[in-house]
Amino acid sequence: MITLTGVTKRFGARQVLNGVDLTVARGEVLCLIGGSGSGKSTILRCINGLERHDQGTIHVDGTRVDDAGLPAIRRRVAMVFQRFNLFPHRTVLENVIEAPVYVHGEPVAQARARAMDLLARVDMADHADSLPSALSGGQQQRVGIARALALRPEAILFDEPTSALDPERVGEVLRVMRELAQEGMTMLIVTHEIDFARGVADKVAFVDQGVIAEQGAAAEVLSHPREARTAQFLARVLHRD
């Protein structure tokens, strides 16, 4: 459903993406792993146009990522951010209905009812009227996921969704993501949670120096990497603590 072919991206003198080829099939969960600065977040940000890629093509279900295609793509592909990026001047409920009401013109009453269902699903219905600043990081991220789901997306991009969380808050967010995966949501996840990737992902792709260095079935890549640099990276991450 998401296809990248030969995608390059340069920030000034720094070549961040060096010809990325990647395919995410419908209903698939693909985890992107790799060191910081490897370009994995940039891959996500090129898919929904937060960054414009230089060369190559990106398609979402046949729609090309460019000025003409972006509105349609942003309607179908939602994003969850590392630092949540909830609108601080709006309540939890208002954050969730923001796009349905003010981007897609859904009637407020209907959007609210749907948002309450989504908040219940991420176990945040009790906090519907709170401001984001009153919530923990884990709670904010679950609202971030509800806000993404409110678009009725066909796929969700997760940009290091648990990296900014206190360790004891990581589990509650991963639990919600695991449920989404089980329901068949197409998910592209940049993460350092190797155990999560092993348990939930269908595929894992290792990003190094702006290219996909290795990809394949999650168990395969994580347990029996073919590339030496994948093995080195995994050894570093897994023996971190």
Binding site: R74, N85, L86, E98, A99, Y102, V103
Partner: protein, 217 residues
């Protein structure tokens, strides 16, 4: 002291009427200055270069001319060109325009302080430029700009006294007329000063409340 109290008793009704006009003038000019300030900021960030030139040009010209001269221009010169404004409208337009360039500066600073991640969140949700500005950038930028807008508001309140020069019966003009007719300059101007002070203190307090309400982690 007794004389002052007697004067205060005699003059306050007239001066309070003047104060009411001063406050009306402040509120109207403030609204206009903020609206125009938003216009200058949005134009200043437009992709189409001539919009940016117009914005920059207006800001440069308006900032470089004394407010009293701008008021005289609007009240005394525009009628020659067929635009005859009543004094109050001329005052609101003159002060609103003069202050819009400071508001633009306040807003620009506030907007610059808006977290880039929130703009990206809006983009990722599919917002177009207009929706992004209306729902995210302006409301958040306005909150960040509140302290400086509050300061500007107090300055504007005091500068409405300039409108006394185009016959608007606000506080300073009512006081001048009293002083000229009674020669009680000391009492009159002391009362005027106290009334401006009394009006600006609640404004400062209001700004602090707004800041607290708008504060976000």
């Amino acid at each position: 002291m007794n004389d002052f109290l007697t004067d205060a008793h005699a003059f306050l009704p007239v001066l309070l009427q003047g104060l009411a006009v001063t406050l009306e003038l402040t509120v109207c000019a403030l609204s206009l200055s903020l609206a125009l300030g938003v216009v200058w900021v949005v134009m200043g960030r437009a992709k189409f270069a001539p919009w940016r030139w117009i914005s920059q040009g207006v800001i440069t010209v308006v900032r470089g001319i004394p407010i009293i001269v701008q008021l005289f221009f609007i009240y005394f010169v525009l009628p020659d060109w067929g635009l005859d404004l009543p004094p109050f409208a001329a005052g609101v337009i003159g002060l609103g325009l003069a202050y819009s360039v400071y508001q633009a500066e306040n807003l620009r600073g506030g907007i610059g302080a808006v977290d880039k991640g929130l703009v990206e969140a809006g983009e990722a949700l599919g917002m177009n430029r207009f929706t992004l500005w209306r729902r995210v950038v302006l409301p958040l930028g306005l909150r960040h700009a509140l302290p400086s807008i509050g300061n500007t508001m107090v300055m504007l309140l005091k500068d409405t006294s300039i409108a006394s020069t185009i016959t608007i019966a606000e506080l300073t003009r009512e006081g001048q007329l009293l002083a000229i007719s009674t020669f009680h300059n000391g009492s009159v101007y002391a009362l005027i000063a106290l009334l401006y002070l009394a009006a600006s203190l609640p404004l400062s307090a209001l700004v602090r409340v707004l800041e607290r309400k708008g504060r976000m982690a």
